[in-house]
């Protein structure tokens, strides 16, 4: 079978048809996968929230509200956990860009009395084996069940009360910073 001639019309028509078919097929697949993709994103958020607040009977993601930061540009997302009409905890999605490799995103669970219930690392690019130790109980436990107004959430090097991870001061600092931001913003605008 002879191949089609490369006339201008043939070329343009072919490319146009191929692209058209491709785009249509993709639009179809996109519609098909839209819902599963949304569901997956939601599940991921819920996973982090579930890990840091006590059991609730509301929809934290639906009840999400934002609290502005002092720089006026950004805000943190607050996910309230409600049981029997009362707020039993709030998951605050905090972040900092001062990690060793940039962005670190935390989900900080704060109880109505202001103490921290748990912290989940949602996103990070820290060095495996060093910065990643910030997820270990040995480091994280320093932040739990403490009253943030009594404990200074900074590494000892910066005059705080937190023991940094050996050889991972920057990651420890970033973690502390993001947690402090969550606590401060909660104090400012959280629904207790």
């Amino acid at each position: 079978m002879a191949k089609k001639e490369s006339t201008f019309i043939n070329m343009v028509a072919t490319l146009f048809i191929v692209t058209l078919v491709a785009s249509t097929a993709l639009a179809y697949v996109y519609e098909l996968t839209k819902e599963p993709i949304e569901a997956a994103k939601l599940a991921k958020k819920l996973q982090a929230i579930d890990a840091v607040v006590p059991e609730y009977d509301n929809q934290p993601v639906a009840d999400m509200y934002k609290v502005g930061l002092s720089d006026g540009l950004d805000s943190l997302e607050f996910y309230p956990a409600i049981k029997g009409g009362e707020v039993i905890g709030t998951a605050v999605r905090s972040f900092t860009n001062t990690g060793y490799n940039g962005l670190v995103v935390l989900m900080v669970g704060i109880l109505p009395d202001g103490t921290i219930s748990d912290i989940q690392v949602v996103e990070h690019k820290e060095t495996p084996g060093l910065g990643t130790k910030m997820e270990s109980p040995k480091f994280k436990d320093q932040f739990m069940d403490i009253d943030p107004s009594q404990v200074v959430l900074k590494v000892k090097k910066d005059g705080g009360d937190i023991d940094a991870i050996t050889a991972a001061t920057i990651s420890s600092r970033a973690f502390s910073e993001a947690t402090q931001l969550a606590v401060d913003t909660y104090k400012k605008g959280g629904n207790k």
């Binding site: 692209t19 785009s23 993709l26 639009a27 697949v29 996109y30 060793y100």
Partner: protein, 190 residues
């Protein structure tokens, strides 16, 4: 100030080649001669910057507003392919010698993961147009830096006595690994 962070980060800390693994194929293919490395870098810088600008505009004015983000891959790669064609035509006229030297590697810039990678990254990082251009140029410089360093080392390696088992590509990869290790030392300067 932010621009300096973008530049330093792209060239040293998150070097497109040694830390992000984008652009490795031409890296191994072109880097055995210093002269071709320079030529390759220039071509990549031109295509990368232009491609980033065009794909940014496409994303901003067509894909995002009409919610057809799923056409990103197709549209981006078509833009890159056309740009490379353009570069080929221009090079043939302007510098036939360089065109000859780059040989088959020129059309291969289309499949250079670095170019498509950078185009996608600026959208992921939510840079504006100027930041995207700065990012693109810096990454091209970072690519060139790694390429030139590597070519220099390889030219020396050609004259050295390398154990038979790892001669050639394996040795090149191991050296690339050591270079990557060296560049890791840059983390933390911002």
């Amino acid at each position: 100030m932010d621009y300096i962070i973008i530049v330093v980060s792209a060239i040293f800390i998150n070097n497109i080649l040694l830390a992000q693994f984008l652009g490795v194929c031409p890296f191994l293919g072109v880097s055995n001669k210093l002269s071709t490395s320079f030529g390759m870098t220039g071509a990549v810088m031109f295509v990368m910057t232009l491609a980033t600008i065009v794909t940014y505009l496409i994303n901003h004015y067509i894909l995002a507003p009409y919610n057809i983000g799923f056409l990103q891959t197709i549209s981006y790669i078509l833009v890159i392919a056309s740009l490379v064609q353009m570069v080929e035509i221009i090079l043939k006229k302007v510098s036939p010698a360089l065109f000859q030297a780059l040989g088959v590697y020129l059309p291969l810039i289309t499949t250079n993961c670095a170019i498509l990678g950078v185009a996608i990254l600026v959208i992921q990082k939510e840079y504006n147009l100027i930041e995207s251009v700065v990012f693109a140029v810096s990454n091209a410089i970072g690519f060139g830096l790694a390429l030139v360093l590597f070519a220099g080392i390889r030219e020396h390696m050609d004259l050295a006595e390398v154990p038979a088992g790892i001669r050639g590509v394996p040795a090149a990869l191991i050296v690339a690994g050591l270079l990557s290790l060296a560049f890791m030392g840059f983390t933390g300067i911002v």
